[in-house]
Point group: C2
């Protein structure tokens, strides 16, 4: 068995070359699947690589090619189910394509931190960027920086048509709203996410569009911050005002708080008030009552993110069908009862 030569260091391309009796360049060609290389030679080189347990040195390669094979993910609130799932799927998809992923978590409200995080990622030499919790202001930070980098965000704001992966939040919100309308509700309130979130905005738009299509006047949305607490507060207010028979919440966590507050106020769900959520987190089917909600396929979202981003990096065209979320009907919605 051939010993690795002078084994203070990891074997290099030249060690492999020497043992295989070829030039270092030939080894490099094997590594990069160059077409004109004799199968026999290739095999011999591969054998030596295996024997030495050779690993190409990423830094050396990155130095000369100035390609890092790394993608960046900029995320706010990654502890939430949706973003966390997306990040997971993105990482897997990227890894399958041979890319590394570097995720940076920021407080989406701190512009300085966003900039610092961006600098951090650029220092790393990322080739592309996924923005996974696109508050409008994160988006602005990107653009203001005049970023050359290919990047992908959820849901276009319309300001820069490319680079945006459409999850059709609007249609999702319309489906939730239509479900309530079809049950016979006419006094429906929307509990929105923070207004500087692109998704929150899109869901409001969908909600209003559907109301309008039904000939109903739009109602002013309540605004939460995605947390169950904010849902609870909104629920208290709804119970107090007592003028609606259904609520469409922009995510499941707020819907949970909503359920809690309504129950505390002695109201029955869905008897007195129907509630629809958004996301279909794993807990949603075990809420009390089990929550009717709009399911987002975060895994598929992550895969598409990477497909789109890699297409941008490589300059190949990408098909871009929007991803449409599905309505999942459970027990938190019912027809309004007659007064």
């Amino acid at each position: 068995m051939t010993q690795p030569p002078a084994s203070g260091r990891a074997p290099s391309i030249r060690d492999v070359a020497r043992i295989a009796g070829v030039s270092h360049q030939t080894v490099s060609r094997v590594l990069n699947a160059h077409p004109s290389i004799r199968p026999e030679t290739k095999e011999r080189v591969l054998a030596v690589m295996g024997e030495l347990n050779y690993r190409p040195n990423r830094a050396a390669r990155a130095l000369v090619t100035s390609r890092s094979a790394t993608l960046g993910v900029l995320s706010a609130s990654s502890a939430q189910y949706g973003p966390a799932s997306s990040i997971r799927a993105i990482e897997r998809a990227a890894r399958a394509e041979g890319y590394f992923v570097n995720t940076v978590n920021v407080d989406g409200n701190d512009v300085d931190e966003i900039q610092a995080a961006l600098t951090h990622l650029l220092d790393l030499g990322i080739e592309g960027l996924v923005v996974i919790a696109p508050q409008v202001r994160v988006f602005d930070a990107l653009v203001s920086r005049g970023l050359e980098l290919p990047f992908v965000t959820m849901q276009s704001t319309g300001r820069r048509g490319d680079h945006a992966l459409s999850v059709d939040q609007i249609t999702g919100a319309r489906r939730a709203t239509r479900h309530l309308l079809e049950l016979g509700h006419t006094r429906i309130r929307h509990l929105a996410g923070p207004l500087d979130w692109i998704e929150a905005e899109a869901r409001i738009v969908g909600f209003h569009a559907e109301l309008e299509a039904a000939g109903l006047a739009p109602s002013e949305p309540l605004v939460g911050d995605w947390t169950p607490e904010s849902g609870y507060l909104a629920g208290q207010r709804i119970a107090r005002e007592g003028d609606v028979t259904a609520v469409f919440s922009a995510n499941d966590q707020m819907a949970l708080g909503l359920l809690h507050a309504l129950r505390d106020a002695g109201l029955d769900v869905p008897g007195d008030v129907s509630v629809v959520g958004f996301d279909d987190i794993p807990e949603a089917s075990h809420f009390w009552p089990p929550l009717t909600t709009v399911r987002q396929d975060f895994d598929e979202f992550g895969r598409r993110c990477i497909a789109l981003l890699l297409a941008a990096i490589r300059g190949t065209p990408a098909e871009e069908r929007a991803l449409v979320p599905d309505l999942i009907v459970r027990a938190s919605t019912a027809p309004p009862h007659a007064r």
Copy 2:
């Protein structure tokens, strides 16, 4: 204003040197805060760097130092609240220390995938590793590989004392159990996580230890898989068998399923059965009833992870107090009612 020279490329250390009228090595010294450099020279170099918007090239540095300034995180089930929060905190803490973090998400049951992920991280040249969802088998995979790398896991299995960050899961579990005992419960069941998870194991140990201290016979734990669904199934079984007055669930999500099943079976919580969870996820206080649970401080956990790992990398000693979780009493527990 001085123009960047021949601006096809990013400015290098030599560009800076030329313009500042020093040698490239002097620039390098400024970069690395070498002691013997005249303040005046240093300032001049820094000025030029600023002007050129110079960025040190990580790849070149990594190539020569063979230090990547990158840490790896190996995670299973990162979409769950606990792991996701930990990862977030780890990344922030590492970034504050100038490290990059590369997270890889795997299916913890697929040994091949774990190995592949590890290879992926090693290819990257990580300097240290955090294992964030330590199924026993992940841990074994590490050790079997004879890994040289400094690494940190949650909770020692005792097989290799170092490298383990103690979250004192045992004490946490004891506190939950003691709370039930103090309320007067004697027939208590534990709903455990998958038995190959180190944390699941520790919570079982804590549960049994506390029962034993109270002079009660240990009961066989039910086993779930952390999901609400598995909690639901366990709840159905408990309702059917009807011989316990309290359940300690190894996480909050399973506790949610449990609550659901008990309610479906017509049992009142906490009237008929008390339930305690573990983690204190943000939803827990809005469950019905609001869940008594054990709070883990994931942020602190993440920070400690990095502190410990960096200490291992740098060879400095690290203090290692165990992190002790707190019991949060809400409405899902009460004294058993007299039969």
